[in-house]
Amino acid sequence: MENQVRISRQDPNRQLGFLWGAVATGLVALTPLATRLAASVPACPFRSILGLPCLTCGSTRAALALSRLDLWTAVTLNPLAAAGWLTLVAGGLVAGVLALIGTPLREPSWRLSMPIRLALVLVILANWVYLVVAGI
């Protein structure tokens, strides 16, 4: 309980770094079970019905590739998902270490201009077009 009280009164950025790092460490610890866990993910209903990949198709296989440290395969399976997994796990480990040494990551500004918002949407659509063309 004492630890809990101490954690809850820290700088939120540092606390986020610790928690993000803990989650990333937990996911890394589950790597030996990755294949068995992936087997429990159901087939994509979008693909089953329409025969086309959805925006997130290839994410599970990308995660499995990353669990084998096969970055190239992960990127070819779903570039955005691979980037997302890397951000979650590698970013979490970095954030945890930075929080430990007392220089936590700072939260960026979240107000985006319209051109940047449109660019983000285009990136997501381009990723989907890639999945369709590559037959992921």
């Binding site: 809850s8 606390q15 993000w20 087939a43 019905i49 979650l88």
Partner: protein, 238 residues
């Protein structure tokens, strides 16, 4: 003559009273006690979510909402796994083709898988909170829902974490999963509107965009079912 009072050290200014909310029951667990705070928070988020989010602190603590989400998420996993062992295997086998086989096999939970999932569930719940909060926050950025926000990513994280209280709907067999989804959406919209001071439209868009992207297929499936039913009743009527 100098004023003797002028030489005395000035008293420190009185502490400024906190302006934001004092915290929902879970965030006041130091005063209420762990068990009571948890039960009171669950009651409040179930019966009066708008009031619950209004009481929720805007920033300053990632751990409280995460611990709450892990607790309710873990309970939800246990309940859904229990139901899975009892019902779902036979139910999902009614789905057509490969999807039905896979869903049936997945739902036919063995005791080993049940125990394993209970052990690793907290890690998955915590990871899910970060992933889902990140996705919803990205969507909020895209729809311009953060323009008036003072709480940033932490606000989204709090909303998503406390919305995990919807996991209790897993207590309803078979339809529980669907109810969890709908209830989570409603809680998410209420929370995002309050914590980010945004409109209900933008909050709804931010919550629904990722669900629509991932589940467009379910809408298509529903439309196909509706069309089939309409055709069937039309044929009977004719």
């Amino acid at each position: 003559m100098t004023d003797p009072g002028a030489m005395q050290p000035t008293a420190p200014p009185p502490p400024t009273p906190p302006t934001g909310p004092q915290g929902n029951p879970w965030e006041r667990r130091d005063a209420l006690g762990f068990g009571s705070a948890f039960i009171e928070a669950v009651k409040l988020f179930v019966t009066s979510p708008a009031e619950a989010y209004a009481q929720t602190k805007r920033s300053g603590d990632y751990a409280s909402p995460l611990i709450f989400a892990v607790l309710v998420g873990w309970i939800g996993v246990v309940i859904s796994q229990l139901w899975g062992m009892l019902f779902n295997a036979s139910l999902f086998s009614m789905f057509p083709g490969e999807m039905g086989e896979q869903m049936g096999a997945m739902a036919a939970t063995s005791i080993g898988a049940f125990l394993g999932s209970i052990i690793i569930a907290p890690i998955f719940v915590a990871a899910t909170m970060f992933i889902w909060s990140g996705i919803v926050h990205l969507c909020l950025m895209l729809v311009g829902g953060l323009n008036e926000s003072q709480s940033g990513f932490e606000g989204t994280f709090r909303v998503i974490s406390y919305a995990a209280v919807a996991q209790f709907a897993h207590i309803i067999p078979i339809a529980g999963g669907l109810i969890v989804t709908v209830w989570s959406i409603i809680l998410g919209v209420i929370g995002l509107t309050d914590l980010h001071r945004t409109t209900q439209g933008k909050a709804t868009a931010a919550v629904l965009i990722p669900i629509a992207v991932c589940c467009v297929c379910l809408m298509i499936f529903g439309a196909m079912m509706a069309a089939s039913l309409a055709a069937m009743f039309g044929a009977q009527g004719g």
